[in-house]
């Protein structure tokens, strides 16, 4: 198992999310049993974390940046997304599957991250979320992908 890390500073632009996520996923060499976790669980969750950071954390301010740190250590894939906002309390987000919320357009991002990832942690300030996915021992970044 080779430990690797990728670190980016992204502009606060929603249109760059897709390319950033595809780049990260493409740098993960997959074995069959974890392919779906990367293709689906990780990809969707990373989009959610980045869009939350840009829209709610940074308030769509194009002058602000979002920091993305991806680490692979001991079979755990970790992505930390940090914005430059004041943070929020994730405990105050209502359940989007409750009957009174099911017809709401928004409010499913954090819910999906928690459902799709093995662990989701916020820092005390609430402006940095860490996503954790447990992978098999054969999961690695290619050597040339180190940033």
């Amino acid at each position: 198992m080779i430990d690797r890390e990728l670190i980016f500073e992204l502009p606060n632009d929603l249109h760059c999310i897709e390319d950033a996520v595809e780049f990260i996923v493409s740098r993960c060499s997959t074995c069959q049993d974890v392919a779906r976790k990367l293709r689906f669980n990780f990809r969707v969750s990373l989009v959610e974390a980045l869009s939350n950071a840009m829209i709610y954390g940074n308030g769509r301010d194009p002058a602000k940046r979002v920091r993305l740190e991806v680490h692979l250590r001991s079979g755990r894939l970790t992505a930390r997304v940090t914005d430059q906002g004041h943070g929020f309390n994730p405990l105050r987000v209502p359940d989007p599957t409750a009957p009174e919320n099911i017809m709401e357009e928004g409010g499913r991002g954090l819910f999906l991250m928690k459902k799709l990832m093995d662990e989701v942690h916020y820092n005390e300030r609430g402006n940095s979320v860490t996503l954790v996915l447990n992978l098999s021992a054969s999961q690695t970044f290619p050597d040339q992908a180190t940033a």
Binding site: H15, I17, R39, V44, V47, I55, E105, G106, L112
Partner: protein, 111 residues
């Protein structure tokens, strides 16, 4: 994301979503569907045969469109969701909100 708009027999407007339906491009689909709604269309099918993944913003756009179409007496159906996309709809319980067909042909039946 790119999408094709086709009118099927029975006046159903079909949108083929190619690629991703996520926060960076969801407004394109929303504007295209609303333009057809304002133009008088009432029957809509969004087909996901060529769709990679959807995020919560994409799901939200579908919910919003469904509400607007129902308010005008119309219906929005979905078709051809792969295993990943079905999981998303099941997790969020949106599978209870939409009529989801296994195939485009099934979605067009009895519309």
């Amino acid at each position: 994301m790119a999408f094709d708009v086709k009118r099927e027999t029975g006046e159903v407007v079909v949108f083929d979503v190619e690629g991703q339906l996520i926060v960076g491009n969801r407004q394109e689909l929303k504007q295209a569907v609303l333009a057809e709604l304002e133009g008088g269309a009432r029957k809509f099918l969004v087909d996901f045969t060529n769709t990679g993944y959807i995020d919560s913003s994409g799901l939200g756009v579908l919910v919003s469109l469904s509400k607007k179409i129902r308010e005008q007496g119309g219906e929005l159906r979905l078709s051809s969701l792969n295993e990943d996309l079905r999981t998303l709809f099941e997790l969020t319980k949106l599978d209870t909100l939409f009529r989801i067909a296994d195939s485009r042909e099934e979605g067009l039946q009895d519309f």
